[in-house]
Symmetry: C2
Subunit: 158 residues, 2 copies
């Protein structure tokens, strides 16, 4: 479980660095598919990971700034770092015995849904990888090489 | 580990079904990013999973048809089904004790690289999710709703 989170965090860092090589207009530009722009996607990835792990599983009272309040590369980097600091200990302390514990989610429609921690953790993993795939298409539209998505060769298992 | 493979297989099936609702010209059309078209992406996903698990880890002598030889929706469905039948038992029989076993990969440049089975399996998982993210952008370009990427709500943990 941890390795896939570490993969996501590494890839996210690479994309945030990549964003530093692109002008902010391109980062903010509305695009087809996904949640609509490169920076909004990165905000969304951070918000979803933080929301499920700290707000959902850990049941903390959390505050997620709307994109408009952090709509710049440095602000998104700071938002990501802040959330990471708070949620990473839970991921590093993950034990198989947590797999089948249950959390209750209140959906946007106000319904209560039960999920195991194992399901939530994998949802968060897949969520980030999926949205990063969208960034890779948009980066080619800008004419730039995307960050590699390869998991092999990142030194995660050294 | 198994759950993320099951997620990928479900999502892949949903996309193959989705392809049935789109004309073949759109499926074959060259697009920006990724490996270049919807059908080539699906072929690539299957080939990479099959290549790493049956060819790489299991060391079987395998044959992967070039895209040109299976360049149609039904052929890609058949190719996916054939590979799945051969590789799924290994995934279902996965045990944590396999994590640190080593396989040797010969790269395209002829170099030998050692990888643990655990690294290869996670690489394959992330690889498919990433490319599916690209399909989701292209589907919006066609004006069609993409298959949901949500892992939660697929009944994988019922």
């Amino acid at each position: 479980m941890l390795k896939l989170f570490e993969y996501n965090w590494q890839v996210r860092k690479d994309w945030l660095d990549w964003c530093g090589t692109v002008n902010e207009e391109e980062l903010m530009k509305r695009r087809t598919g996904g949640v609509g722009s490169i920076l909004i996607t990165l905000h969304h990835i951070v918000a979803v990971e933080y929301g499920w792990i700290c707000g959902g599983i850990q049941g903390k009272s959390i505050e997620i700034p709307p994109f408009e309040n952090v709509a710049g590369l440095q602000q998104i980097k700071d938002f990501s770092a802040r959330c990471h600091l708070e949620l990473a200990p839970f991921v590093y302390d993950w034990k198989d015995s947590l797999e089948s514990r249950i959390m209750i989610d209140i959906t946007d429609e106000g319904e209560r849904e039960a999920h195991t921690y194992g399901e939530v953790m994998r949802h968060v993993i897949a969520h980030e990888i999926h949205h990063i795939g969208q960034l890779s298409v948009w980066s080619r539209e800008i004419g730039k090489k995307p960050v590699t998505a390869n998991l092999i060769g990142r030194g995660l298992f050294d």
